[in-house]
């Protein structure tokens, strides 16, 4: 059975402001915790989710606080499959950023202060996929739990 055929274990519409995002994350982590996802995996999930949502807030919605985001989460065995949909600006070039690791082998004054987000998403998730459908962006990925 494919992930898409599984019923959602979590589904909500929220808005692109910090309070709404924070309460959505609390509810999601609580839900996943109750399905038996361990604390370490919840940490990975929180990192990937917030980096993906930050990207929507900053780049798709340019910090407009009242824009809609839909979150749908399914579980298939050990995999937690996430679908995030927004109606903001398209990903530049219509593709996902490469997310290369930032170079930290440099003098202190040249250390990177950003560019970590997509690297964290790509490292902690799998089956990462982006598509533009009409005026919507859809990002899907899975996080494997219980390794």
């Amino acid at each position: 059975m494919t992930v898409a055929k599984q019923p959602a274990i979590f589904h909500t519409h929220f808005t692109s402001d910090p309070v709404s995002i924070a309460s959505t994350m609390v509810a999601l982590l609580d839900c996943l915790g109750k399905t038996g996802v361990a604390a370490d995996d919840l940490g990975s999930m929180e990192i990937v989710m917030l980096e993906a949502i930050n990207n929507i807030v900053e780049h798709a919605y340019l910090y407009c606080p009242d824009k809609p985001i839909e979150l749908l989460v399914r579980k298939l065995g050990q995999d937690v499959a996430v679908e995030l949909t927004d109606s903001g600006a398209q990903m530049p070039g219509g593709i996902l950023p490469k997310g290369a690791p930032a170079n930290v082998d440099v003098p202190v004054d040249q250390l990177p202060e950003g560019g970590f987000g997509w690297y964290l998403i790509r490292t902690l998730s799998k089956d990462l996929h982006y598509c533009r459908e009409g005026n919507e962006n859809r990002l899907t990925f899975s996080v494997t739990t219980g390794d």
């Binding site: 910090p18 604390a39 370490d40 940490g43 990975s44 929180e46 990192i47 917030l50 980096e51 930050n54 807030v57 900053e58 690791p101 930032a102 930290v104 202190v108 004054d109 250390l111 990177p112 202060e113 950003g114 560019g115 970590f116 987000g117 690297y119 964290l120 490292t123 902690l124």
Partner: protein, 114 residues
């Protein structure tokens, strides 16, 4: 978010009284760090014992706090939660900072080296 600076053995501890350093709080964190570290001489230990979560913006703000220090000042970290430690490890920032298990370990270490 509140940052509190207090003297510990041989150094100054700055404790973050917030469970998160993330995108909405990153600028505030950086500004408060600049103010609290301005007059410190020597080692500053950032106590993250109350922080459960740091995202890429928060990580960037911690790195920026180190870059804005003057000569003779050093920034070390203490008491990373498992999730915060994961972000530092994955981005290899754990190789950039001296990281202590907790504030007591940091103070002991500074006492020995000082």
């Amino acid at each position: 978010m509140q940052l509190i600076s207090s003297a510990i053995d041989g150094a100054v501890a700055i404790t973050v009284h917030s469970t998160r350093i993330d995108a909405p709080q990153a600028i505030q964190f950086k500004d408060q760090m600049r103010e609290l570290t301005a007059d410190v001489v020597g080692c500053i230990v950032l106590d993250l014992s109350q922080v459960d979560f740091v995202d890429s913006s928060g990580l960037g703000a911690i790195v920026a706090s180190m870059k804005q220090l003057s000569d003779g000042q050093e920034l070390e970290l203490a008491a990373l939660s498992p999730t915060v430690a994961k972000v530092f490890k994955l981005t290899r920032m754990d190789s950039v900072f001296t990281i202590h298990t907790d504030l007591d370990a940091a103070a002991g270490n500074i006492r020995k080296s000082g």
